[in-house]
């Protein structure tokens, strides 16, 4: 668990982060959103002490993060940034091996880890391992950047707009990869972004920052239903609200008894995608299929419309 305890950061007169208290649960993804200059990047950089707080304390699993030397702390925490920051004079394999090498892992263990991660990110170790970063595409570089952050098996991964430089299609893929990898390793992730779509897609919990303060911290659904301030409401986007609400839950959650005509919708699809299917096919209901292909019921236009309305 990561606890921010009344953390404040001041540069001369300007307060960038003001009295932030926040608890991040283990094995979850917490997304910090806010406009630029809201202090969100400064906040996560204080976790691995790239920035020192002016006052307050950050505890990682109950322990003050100032108890160990900076470099030791950082080797324990994964860190992935926008524009990947790969070392241009080192191969992909050497880049990924950065922290394990610093920690003095033996050669065989490092090699096995590099291969495991490259395979996990769908990059052929024999082909990509000996390449230099500039020989890779943007999406591949970004994956290597995340792989490097995960190489020493950190319990905590900090990500600062990791997908900011990617085009929309590769970004969506990278987000899905991240969700799969988070499930695989159970890593606690704190991710900073200004992209609300990304926040709702990835987050177990969202913290909204405005002018250095956390104005709301809660699940995506809470945030939609009860935005704490007009700023949060604006950030979410009033016209997007019903669709974001539908995007959080799966079609399986909206199943009604009965049958319908047409191509079945997979249970795991989000309700937003189900709605899209209904609208596009021009039908008022479609059958829903479980992962094994069995029809479990139907989703209807009426049912989804009710679910998209503001809960009372």
């Amino acid at each position: 668990m990561i606890e921010f305890d009344r953390v404040t950061k001041r540069y001369d007169e300007t307060e960038v982060v003001s009295d932030v208290s926040l608890a991040v649960m283990p094995h979850t993804i917490t997304v910090i959103v806010g406009t630029s200059g809201s202090g969100k990047t400064t906040l996560i950089r204080m976790v691995n002490r790239l920035v020192e707080p002016t006052s307050g304390m950050i505890r990682i699993d109950g322990e003050d993060n100032r108890l160990v030397p900076e470099f030791e702390l950082r080797r324990r925490i994964g860190y992935a940034i926008q524009g990947h920051g790969l070392f241009p004079h080192r191969t992909v394999a050497q880049n990924i091996a950065t922290v394990p090498t610093l920690l003095g892992w033996e050669r065989g263990r490092i090699k096995a880890k590099v291969e495991e991660l490259l395979t996990l990110f769908q990059l052929d170790p024999d082909f990509f391992g000996p390449r230099y970063p500039h020989e890779l595409s943007g999406g591949q570089q970004q994956r290597v950047g995340v792989a490097r952050a995960l190489a020493a098996e950190p319990n905590l991964l900090l990500m600062d707009e990791p997908f900011g430089a990617l085009d929309p299609i590769i970004r969506a893929k990278a987000q899905d990869d991240l969700l799969a990898i988070q499930k695989h390793f159970g890593t606690t992730i704190i991710l900073v972004t200004h992209d609300m779509e990304e926040a709702f897609h990835l987050a177990d919990r969202i913290a909204v920052m405005d002018k250095g303060e956390v104005v709301q911290h809660g699940t995506p659904a809470e945030m939609l239903v009860r935005p704490a301030t007009p700023f949060v409401e604006e950030l979410i986007g009033a016209t997007e609200r019903p669709f974001r609400l539908l995007a959080i839950e799966t079609a399986g959650d909206a199943v009604e008894p009965g049958t319908a005509e047409g191509t079945p919708i997979p249970e795991a699809l989000s309700q937003r995608e189900a709605l899209s299917e209904l609208l596009w096919s021009g039908r008022s209901a479609l059958p829903v299929a479980a992962a094994n292909g069995a029809i479990v019921g139907k989703v209807s236009l009426d049912g989804l419309v009710k679910r998209a309305a503001r809960p009372r």
């Binding site: 030791e72 702390l73 070392f87 004079h89």
Partner: protein
């Protein structure tokens, strides 16, 4: 298939080597430049040996300048040393603005005739390009890369040795290349204070009104400068191609 410039360089190198080892072969070519009975090929010592001494002087001076300039650049680009940047800049600037001839004149009374005053002049003259380039190289690293190095938990020393210096190397090499080329030419004046360099050949030619000597000395220095310049540039490109692409 080698390109034309490569072939030209190879030809220059072979010509230079041939001239240094067998200067007699070139006598007919140089003969028209001298008065009758005057020697056409330098005869007061081995050209090959003088060239080696010339190169040694330049190498020693540039090596010392590199060590001092790069150390200074590293020092002033650290957080703790930042306030010394203007001071170091002025110091190495003085080294550059002081004409090497003046340095020789001032150094001779202290160190006597011989190689030492030349080494000092070349060293001082070579500091600035290396220092300025090293500072530039170390302060213009991609921010995402230095940030990632810190975030990965590298100590300050590890960042310097593993990331910053290797990435700044092409730019530092450019500075070294400039110093070497300046040094190769400037070393010739060292012979006015009895340093053993190719300047001897030129000075001997000037004293005895022997155009062939002057030409030999000048051409050897020029060929050395061009070849070493190109070799260092090729090295820079090889390094930069990997890091900056």
């Amino acid at each position: 298939m080698a390109s034309l410039p490569t072939l030209l360089r190879l030809a220059v190198f072979l010509l230079l080597l041939a001239f240094l080892l067998q200067p007699g072969w070139f006598e007919p070519l140089l003969k028209p430049l001298v008065q009758e009975n005057a020697p056409a090929v330098y005869n007061r010592g081995s050209l090959f040996w003088l060239t080696l001494l010339h190169l040694r002087t330049v190498f020693v001076a540039t090596f010392a300048a590199t060590v001092i300039a790069v150390s200074l650049a590293v020092l002033v680009t650290r957080e703790a040393g930042a306030e010394f940047l203007p001071l170091s800049r002025s110091l190495v600037n003085i080294g550059q603005t002081f004409p090497p001839v003046a340095v020789l004149a001032l150094a001779v009374p202290i160190f006597g005739f011989g190689e030492k005053p030349t080494l000092i002049a070349l060293f001082l003259y070579g500091l600035l390009p290396i220092f300025e380039n090293a500072v530039t190289g170390l302060t213009t690293l991609p921010p995402a890369v230095t940030e990632a190095a810190r975030g990965a938990g590298m100590t300050e020393r590890q960042r310097l040795m593993q990331i910053e210096l290797p990435l700044a190397m092409p730019v530092i090499l450019t500075g070294i290349r400039l110093s070497v080329v300046i040094g190769l030419a400037t070393a010739t004046i060292g012979s006015t204070v009895a340093a053993k360099t190719l300047g001897e050949v030129i000075i001997a030619g000037l004293q005895s009104n022997n155009l062939a000597f002057v030409l030999q000395g000048g051409l050897i220095v020029a060929a050395l400068a061009v070849l070493i310049h190109d070799a260092l540039q090729a090295l820079e490109r090889a390094l930069a191609g990997r890091t900056n692409a």
